[in-house]
């Protein structure tokens, strides 16, 4: 395998998998928010439930 091919393979892997790593870190730094009404729906396993209002 040529040096140019090795360098391009490493760049491609670093760019894409590195981007994925950063995106996952960003999600970890921003935990999701849930409001009470949605928590009720999720408690039903995400199924359709009659309106709570």
């Amino acid at each position: 395998m040529s040096a140019a091919a090795i360098v391009m393979m490493i760049i491609a892997l670093l760019a894409v998998w590195g981007g994925l790593g950063l995106a996952l870190l960003n999600l970890k730094w921003h935990p999701e928010a849930i409001d009470d009404e949605e928590a009720d729906v999720v408690a039903q396993g995400g199924e359709s439930v009659p309106p709570l209002r």
């Binding site: 395998m1 040529s2 140019a4 091919a5 090795i6 360098v7 391009m8 393979m9 760049i11 491609a12 892997l13 760019a15 894409v16 998998w17 981007g19 994925l20 950063l22 995106a23 996952l24 960003n26 999600l27 730094w29 921003h30 999701e32 928010a33 849930i34 409001d35 009404e37 949605e38 729906v41 999720v42 396993g45 995400g46 199924e47 359709s48 439930v49 009659p50 309106p51 709570l52 209002r53």
Partner: protein, 559 residues
């Protein structure tokens, strides 16, 4: 928007219509979205496209296309689905009444893709079994078209069924309909939570095994050696944008549907970056695995990699079986490769069929189970009737080529032009994304969607159109291509228009004035009021929460 009196105020909504289903969290949404994006094309299309278009140099236009078209389009779909809480027809109708037909066009495209996509999964399932005995022997090509598919010499539509395709196809539809009948969380989400990690583990083992084959590094050398002179060639930029576009499942309704099941305060851009990079990460991994294996095939045959490099069905069902027959521990390689195709294909097929089910459910207000059966059974019957036959291969080939080139590309082009120039919806959608997301979108996003994407999609569409008109398709008879190629794509547009004219059920979600609920709407509007510095045209957003639930909101915006 007209509503019945009892639905007029959200807090007094006493309708018995069920609430919209919801993902249990963003983790399962991300896994389901990755499952949709990672499909057969990641495994059998990307490696060859990269190899044919400059090798290592292709990675530069590829990454630029990912950041300037793929991920921005993903955000657009997320914004539409999350803001307007519906399948494509409902979400786009809420965006603008005239946009509903675009949504049905996307649903029609999903219908056509689903009927043939299931067949390829059935083939892959059979090849998992064939791998144990290398049933194709020394002639993988002859086995595939002869003994296995029993391809007829006649180009027509026949009903001479091939049991070895028919039976696994029935099983595929049984699995897909069962999963979808279970619903968003219990069916789609739980499948993604199991299948996606399993797919990743299987593919990593496959790649490691392929890297230890003789000649593997020669294959990788062919894939990654950069041909910098190609960067000046417009065709590799078009190929890069095309690969990103087809790979990410954007533009034909899947991501609109999936994001409609998200919670109100979901980080759309944070989730989108994970999905976009995970999809590309899998493609690069697939490129390494496939070209390592092709390097072995070339070494074993004493030829160059250029002589064995293929894509699509030829790669999966002819080249790979040849490799499996020659490689040490070939059975393991075969089970991992075809098993990966099955898992990647199933999660994608589920997302495609879900678009149709969600659209029918939204319009009719039927239950989940009823909508699944009303959609799933006819879909399965058409698929089972037309494709597991001795004439099914040509039909699949034409349908796939035309629905991709003139279905997905055309509807995505129309949608982005309509949303950017027609309805001027991009500023509002950007505000919506920014109100709930960790990574804020700037004006560059609007430029990518309203400028870069239409130019690229328009070029791809016109280029393919002129080629097909002048050269036909694959040497197939004109009447066959006319009916199942051109006729099919034109029919999709006409049917979409007619479906948009059917009245919505009086119990359907279109009559909801409040989409997100008063709490988030107030927050969104406050956020928009403080961050919005744009004064240009706005989209017509009839009956949306933002326009209906907050008193005095309309006046405030117009100031």
């Amino acid at each position: 928007m007209s509503t019945s009196g009892k639905l007029r105020h959200p807090l007094l909504n006493v309708s018995a219509r069920p609430q919209r289903e919801m993902w249990s969290g963003r983790k399962v949404f991300i896994l389901a979205a990755i499952g949709s994006a990672v499909g057969l094309g990641n495994i059998w299309r990307f490696p060859y496209v990269a190899y044919e278009n400059g090798g290592g140099a292709f990675m530069i236009p590829y990454l630029i296309a990912l950041l300037t078209a793929g991920i921005p389009l993903l955000f657009l779909d997320y914004a539409v689905g999350h803001r307007f809480r519906g399948s494509p027809p409902l979400a786009l109708r809420r965006l603008h009444p005239k946009a509903e037909a675009i949504g049905w066009w996307q649903v029609g495209i999903c219908f056509v893709i689903a009927v043939y996509y299931a067949v390829i999964i059935a083939w892959a399932g059979m090849y998992v079994i064939f791998s144990f005995t290398t049933a194709w022997g020394d002639d993988a090509a002859g086995f595939f078209t002869g003994e296995f598919l029993q391809v007829s010499d006649q180009v027509n539509v026949g009903f001479d069924f091939v049991p070895s395709v028919l039976i696994p196809l029935i099983l595929v539809w049984g699995v897909v309909i069962t999963i979808l009948a279970l619903g968003v969380q219990k069916g789609i989400a739980r499948t993604a939570v199991v299948f996606i990690p399993l797919l990743l583990i299987m593919f990593i083992i496959l790649v490691v095994q392929a890297l230890f084959l003789e000649g593997a590094w020669t294959g990788l050398d062919a894939l990654f050696t950069p041909d910098w002179t190609r960067l000046g060639d417009s065709s590799i930029w078009v190929a890069a944008y095309g690969q990103i576009f087809f790979s990410l499942s954007v533009g034909f309704g899947i991501m609109i549907t999936y994001s409609s099941y998200l919670r109100r305060k979901t980080d759309l851009t944070g989730s989108g970056f994970v999905v976009g990079f995970a999809n590309s990460g899998f493609e690069i991994l697939a490129g390494i695995g496939v070209f390592a294996a092709l390097g072995f095939m070339a070494a074993a045959s004493g030829v160059g990699v250029d002589e064995v490099a293929v894509s699509g069905i030829g790669l999966a069902f002819i080249a790979f079986p040849t490799i499996i027959a020659q490689a040490p521990a070939g059975v393991l390689l075969g089970v991992l490769f075809f098993g990966s195709l099955v898992f990647a294909g199933l999660t994608s097929l589920i997302s495609i069929v879900e678009v149709i089910i969600a659209a029918v459910q939204d319009k009719s207000s039927w239950s989940r189970a009823r909508s699944t059966l009303v959609v799933g059974i006819p879909l399965a019957l058409i698929s089972i009737l037309l494709f597991p036959t001795t004439t099914g291969l040509n039909l699949l080939d034409v349908t796939d080529a035309f629905v991709n080139s003139f279905g997905i590309v055309a509807v995505a082009l129309v949608a982005v032009v309509a949303m950017s120039a027609g309805f001027s919806a991009l500023p509002r959608l950007r505000e919506h994304v920014n109100a709930t997301s960790s990574i804020r979108l700037g004006r560059s996003w609007q430029i990518f969607i309203g400028g870069v994407t239409p130019v690229v999609l328009g070029y791809i569409l016109i280029d393919t159109l002129t080629t097909r008109i002048s050269e036909g398709y694959g040497g197939l008879p004109g009447w066959f291509v006319g009916i199942f190629g051109w006729g099919m794509v034109i029919a999709l547009v006409l049917i979409a228009y007619l479906l948009s004219k059917i009245p919505w059920s009086h119990r359907s979600a279109i009559h909801d004035e409040n989409i997100h609920g008063p709490i988030l709407d107030a927050e969104l509007d406050a956020n928009i009021a403080t961050t919005d510095k744009t004064t240009g045209d706005r989209a017509v957003l009839p009956g949306t929460a933002a326009s209906a639930s907050v008193p005095g909101d309309g006046e405030r915006r117009s100031q």
